[in-house]
């Protein structure tokens, strides 16, 4: 793999039950590339959490993936309400998800912490009223 491989996924914000389609497709793409299964697992869980966040809070968004020899980089962008206090959002157990989402088993306040846990680097850029961009990097073994 000499050139970077890029993938683009639109995340539909209308249908919560189908959330995860982009992550499952991403996982399949990574398998076909022969990426290590544990790295695929970490990257696809992180991407799924991001996807769920965009569906819950931002009416959807998009995910762009870049795979090089060094790393997988996932960029999740939405035009949602933004995150007023990123440090608070990063705390395990803190959640602003509504009750109907909690009944489905989400909204435990573990989404962003899981994304950080499973990636080697994570950056959140967010402007209230404009949107949020989360960039995650998972390093690939040399």
């Amino acid at each position: 793999m000499s050139e970077a491989l890029t993938l683009h996924f639109d995340v539909n914000g209308e249908d919560f039950t189908s959330a995860g389609q982009a992550s499952v497709r991403f996982k399949k793409n990574m398998r076909e590339l022969g990426v290590d299964p544990e790295i695929i697992r970490r990257a696809s869980i992180a991407m799924y959490e991001g996807e769920i966040n965009m569906v819950i809070h931002a009416h959807g968004g998009c995910a762009d993936v870049e795979v090089t020899e060094e790393a997988i980089t996932i960029t999740l962008s939405d035009k949602g309400p933004g995150i007023p206090d990123i440090a608070k959002a990063m705390q395990e157990g803190y959640s602003t998800a509504p009750d109907n989402i909690r009944q489905l088993g989400f909204g435990a306040g573990m989404g962003l912490p899981n994304m950080k846990r499973y990636t080697d680097d994570m950056k959140i850029e967010s402007t209230v009223g404009v949107g949020t961009t989360v960039t995650m990097r998972i390093d690939l073994p040399k």
């Binding site: 959330a19 995860g20 996982k27 799924y48 088993g105 435990a108 573990m110």
Partner: protein, 108 residues
Amino acid sequence: MQVKEFAEKCSLTVLSLPNGEREIKGGYVGDLLSWVMGRAKADQAWITIMSNQNIIAVAALIDVACIILAEDVQLEENIIENAKAKGVNILATKLPAFEAAKLLIESE
């Protein structure tokens, strides 16, 4: 133990078994999906009472050996079809999660 052997030995209901030869290596009990995604490990059996469509994506992504639905929780037919399509094994039991976990431990 393989998922299909475990289902047979413990008389669990088989809802979806596209990968019955998968080996179960331990288990995890939980219903909060993000919590499960943060803590469960690949190849474990995941015992839950959650029954919405999202459990299939979660199980596929964390790569568990199977889902074990406890407490006689029912699944809609389209969710079972989705599980089969995504290669996710699902077993079901009337037992509570604690008793289901005991079956898992006793079969190790």
